[in-house]
Symmetry: C2
Subunit: 417 residues, 2 copies
């Protein structure tokens, strides 16, 4: 706090922006703070708290990543139990875990949402569930086929294989999630993937479907993150941290300036709202490399929302949360307090709209904000000042201010929360 | 036509889909038709008709790609002529080419839109143009700086460098286009780029900012196309054609099945509406490799619109059209006549909405459709039947029908128009 005041005073005459530049130390000294964070990360126990350790009432299990042979075996087991149910006189049906919010639980120790153990019996011999039962059976058959062939398709492809039965994509999508919960595996284990949006660049080497990908040799455009995470293996890296960027404009600046060569890191973005593939990739990369993730997002409620999706998951995928979420992301910037500290000009700040204010106020009550008083204080400041700013607002001090001053300064001071 | 009828009859009992599979020849034979098309492509004269050759009245010049030193020199020349104008008593101002549709011309021989030679004098000493003149000067200064530093930024970055002057991004964007026309160079020569969306995979090697990128070794996710095309050089390929795909779901199917290893090709997609970076990349790749481009889009007006943007450009970028457009794309599929021919089930076809019908009817009048009677006939069929279908509708015959039957059959029969 005292250093912040000092800085503010020092920069009063020259706009603050240049004052920071003068205070930058050598790159090695700048890296020292991050190196400490990385070391702490590597020393963390291999698996911290698991759902089993907590032994929560009414919470049974989480879905896990399964390989294709295991998924096939789970489907076959399911069909055998259906046959048994028929022979026992209970009829043709499936026991499906309930995915409504009443059956969801936020677990603070894990910092994610999990499903409780309520379920329902979906039976064929009932007018209200006969269609859903038929669709469930068809989806199980299609997944069995996909896993047998070892190929991946999108939800849309799946829908088109039997439009007559599914009628609309919403129906096959919903039941796909049911099937994933029922089999106890992640949606990506079912070989049904979303579209890819993310890109990655920097000090990272991995193997993708047999090809060795060196992300330091991916030019300025980076490597597209594949939709099928199970084809990604063998992460290797000498990076000290992962820089998670909200937008592609900032990604482009960092890639073109080869920021990762000056400060060894991996730079990743989903270009806005994170897709499943990018979230899986980040999660896998972080847990294998054991290095910290620093988040660079716009200073607005939407930027925080994006961090929250990476960290806690989205509600409708809650059953899949442990595989999709990266709980301990540090909020590097652009934070509401940065606006004054870095003296972002008034005209580069935008007034928050009514919708922004509503989202901001709602988020103040959310668990992932409340659990860290520093996060809560930043969001309170945003809502109080009714101001937001994009990462690009830093361009007002020069196109390369982001890579040459702002980020090095942040790293030097260990200014993440 | 006769072969189409025969096929329809042959497939009457088994849904048609399997009938095609039986008719597939060996891969070498399938490739024969494409090989002919490729040879024809390579024999084309190096530069076909240019704007100069046509010697059109009221059409002076097109913008061209310029290197950074040339852009710098053009800016300096412009400022010298401004100084001369002041000394001559004509005041401070710029001569700006008019970009309105009244000053645009579709040139059938080139199959693209070009600007005619109307221009206006934008002067500082006039209440209605003083702001625009100031913004133009500031943009020229910023571009000069970008070209000097050799870095690339987005339009949004540019806007944020002087929000006080630009007020809103629309204003700096518009004048950026004016500056591009005035200097006679493409927007990408100004080092202002759009965001990247496209990905590429297949039999292609190129150099990106010094890194050698081998697109056969890009796993299933492919290589992200960089926003700054001037960093891309040294295209090498043994591909027989470029497969331009509208959507990422189809791209994923082709990449995962490594379609390019069976039929040597390069596969590229912009994931929907094409962005400038993907269009520049396609144009550059095609003109250096001299191989045909086959388009695979949805059978709906939007799919055709996407082809038209690749081929003829969009109206508001018309001045930049020669650098952005790839005129001779072959329409491979999914064409309206394919729906019956491949017996796409009724439930996988979608009724066209009112907006679809309106767009479809308008497109029937457009030059790029009218110039080829076969294209016109296909669109007429679509509008007449009021039916559309997505590429994914082919999944109704199996997830890999696209790569194993549909595309090989299309290639075997040379069924593109």
């Amino acid at each position: 706090m005292s250093s912040r005041r000092k800085r503010g005073a020092a920069g009063a005459n020259d706009g603050g922006a240049l004052a920071f530049k003068k205070k930058l130390k050598s790159d090695d000294e700048i890296l020292a703070k991050v190196a400490k964070l990385s070391e702490a990360e590597k020393k963390k126990p291999k698996e911290s708290v698991t759902l089993q350790d907590l032994n929560l009432p009414n919470v049974s299990k989480e879905v896990v990543d399964l390989g294709a042979p295991q998924v096939i075996s789970e489907i076959e087991k399911t069909m055998l139990s259906v046959a048994a149910s028929i022979l026992n006189g209970h009829g043709f049906g499936y026991t499906i875990p309930t995915r409504t919010s009443a059956n969801q639980l936020y677990v603070p120790q894990l910092d994610r949402i999990v499903l409780k153990d309520k379920s329902s019996f979906r039976q064929y011999g009932n007018m209200s569930t006969v269609r859903k039962t038929a669709i469930t059976t068809r989806i199980l058959q299609l997944i069995h086929q996909l896993c047998n062939k070892g190929i991946h398709v999108t939800k849309r492809d799946l829908f088109y294989t039997d439009v007559k039965l599914f009628q609309e994509q919403g129906q096959s999508d919903t039941i796909l999630d049911d099937v994933s919960c029922m089999l106890g595996c992640t949606r990506s284990s079912l070989n049904v993937v979303g579209s890819e949006k993310g890109v990655v660049v920097g000090r990272l080497i991995f193997v993708e479907d047999g090809d060795v990908i060196d992300c330091t040799k991916m030019g300025v455009g980076g490597k597209a993150i594949p939709p099928n995470i199970d084809k990604v293996t063998g992460f290797q890296s000498d990076a000290k941290f992962i820089l998670l960027v909200e937008k592609d404009a900032a990604f482009m600046r960092l890639a073109e300036d080869r920021f990762y060569n000056r400060f060894p890191c991996v730079i990743i973005t989903a270009k806005g709202q994170p897709d499943v593939a990018t979230r899986l990739f980040l999660k896998k990369m972080k847990s294998e490399l054991k290095i910290p993730v620093l988040g660079l997002v716009d200073s607005d409620p939407y930027g925080l929302k994006i961090l929250s999706v990476y960290m806690s998951g989205s509600k409708n995928m809650s059953y899949d949360s442990s595989n999709l979420t990266t709980p301990d992301i540090k909020w590097l910037g652009v934070r509401p307090s940065d606006l004054d500290r870095f003296k972002i000009p008034e005209q580069c700040r935008l007034p928050m709209t009514d919708a922004d204010m509503k989202t901001g106020k709602e988020m103040l009550e959310e668990d992932f904000i409340k659990k860290d008083p520093r996060w809560h204080a930043e969001l309170e400041l945003m809502v109080k000042k009714k101001e937001k700013a994009e990462i690009q607002a830093l361009s007002s001090f020069g196109f390369q201010y982001l890579t040459e001053v702002y980020l090095p300064m942040k790293l030097q001071e260990g200014d993440w929360i």
